[in-house]
Amino acid sequence: MNLRKYLKVYKKFLHTSLASELEYKTNILVDLITAILSLVGSIFLLSIFFQNNGYIGGWKFEQALIIQAIYTILNGITNTWFNPNLTEIVKHIREGTLDFVLLKPIDSQFFISLKKINPSGILEVMLGLLLLFFCIKINQINLNLSFLTLSSITISCSICILYSLWFFISTTTIWFVKTWNAIEVLRSFLYIGRFPLNSFSFSLRIFFSVFIPIAFITTIPSEVFLGLSVLWKILLEVIVATIFLITSRKFWLFAIKFYSSASS
């Protein structure tokens, strides 16, 4: 199987992009401070919401912190892999360099999605993990095997959904050429993931579960952490994640049929 080949190629990707990113060491530090400040800011915002209320949408402050932790981890993953790679698609298409990617004897989606890495995002993931451990402590969650499996399943599904959303929007570049701002729209919607879904009105809840499944991304894993989650929700998330992954793959294969390289 050529799995070994892909692993080898990925090692090279890691090596080259880390080497180029580490040229900008202060930049990594600035990005880390940005991540810390943005977490502090959201906790500050949460504390405003909770200053006179014990519960928001049925969540206590300590419980809502879990959502912040999971959001920070997922945001770190976005900044490590999705953001640097998938914004590159836009550049490939504008400058006509997608030809070079398509000509390589390697899967184009693999190449495009994993070529680059941004090390400061990994620090953000660690920051999120730290907060998550703190939350496990203050919410007195006892770690057992079934809890660990369920939480890792739901978080991996969230990552898959998130990846598919990013990849889907970046793929539309093949028709529209400039989609920087479509990514901005996605980002602003994803911001909702910082708050429990139940704190929104009914119509917005429907919107964020059916059209843009942000509900699945952070709320369901957090419910697993609190032991509130029901089995059908977890199953639903697995199904949604699978559908998203398959569709985004199909969409990419469909889209590159329409790619005509520069000057053709």
């Binding site: 915002l45 209320n53 901005e184």
Partner: protein, 264 residues
């Protein structure tokens, strides 16, 4: 004679940039949509009755967030990203030869973009009123003019801050990451996500000395008819502009002395 010449310059710059921006209508429409976060925040506030504790009625709060949306739409600044790209690509050199500070070009770009954005912002506001008919209001002419002035002043403050950051491009290649760092306090302290009146006392005691509440909170309060100190707010805005402008001039002259064109 001289003023005639200057007028012509301003007019030409604006005309060129406006026709340039009209080419990117879809992109600007998407950008306008990505600014709807205040509406999601409003949904959290009213859906959980959080506004009862700060004594703002539902109607006034929804007007506040709509005004915050408008103020944000017309005070978005991205000069550092344009300048960074231009300076990395070596496009700054020809600009420097011209008898016009390149920042006038960026300034005209921003103004032209705001004109293009205006109809889209109106459409979004129209949809907002369909869902919240009770919050329709017509501010009186004087207040409307004052809030336009204060929104423009807020735009000027942000433009100056970002231009100062942009000038750091003369020393470093990644000035935009410093901008992303500065954006975090702007996001959380300016009143875009929660009105400044709702902030806890330990923050309110010092926040009015910083420029942040004058960026969104003050113009939005003015426009929405919430209680605010009009003369105090306007004079603080002007004070910040007078503080920032000499700083910008200084860093610009230092930077251009430092600048070496590519290949020199």
């Amino acid at each position: 004679m001289i003023s005639n010449k200057i007028n012509r310059k301003i007019f030409t710059l604006l005309k060129v940039q406006y026709s340039n921006m009209l080419e990117y209508r879809v992109e600007i429409a998407l950008w306008a949509i990505s600014g709807i976060i205040p509406f999601f925040m409003l949904n959290i506030w009213t859906n959980n009755n959080l506004n009862e504790s700060i004594n703002i009625s539902d109607v006034l709060l929804s007007r506040y967030f709509l005004s915050a949306f408008f103020v944000r739409q017309f005070s978005v600044v991205w000069v550092v990203f344009s300048f960074e790209e231009d300076s990395l690509m070596g496009k700054v050199s020809p600009y420097l030869i011209q008898p016009l500070n390149p920042f006038f070009r960026y300034f005209a770009q921003h103004l032209a973009e705001q004109i293009t954005r205006f109809p889209f912002a109106l459409i979004i506001a129209f949809f907002f009123f369909i869902f919240n008919t009770e919050s329709i209001w017509i501010p009186n002419l004087g207040i409307l003019l004052l809030s336009i002035v204060s929104t423009f002043l807020s735009f000027l403050i942000q433009f100056l801050i970002q231009s100062i950051v942009a000038c750091l491009c003369f020393w470093t290649e990644k000035a935009s990451s410093i901008e992303r760092l500065l954006f975090i306090p702007t996001l959380f302290l300016s009143g875009l996500l929660a009105p400044v009146v709702s902030f806890p006392k330990y923050v309110k005691s010092w926040i009015y000395l910083t420029p942040f509440p004058y960026l969104i909170d003050f113009p939005a309060n003015l426009l929405s008819g919430n209680e605010t100190n009009i003369s105090g707010g306007l004079s603080m805005q002007i004070l910040w502009i007078f503080l920032l402008f000499p700083l910008f001039k200084k860093i610009w002259s230092e930077g251009t002395k430092k600048y070496t064109a590519m290949g020199s």
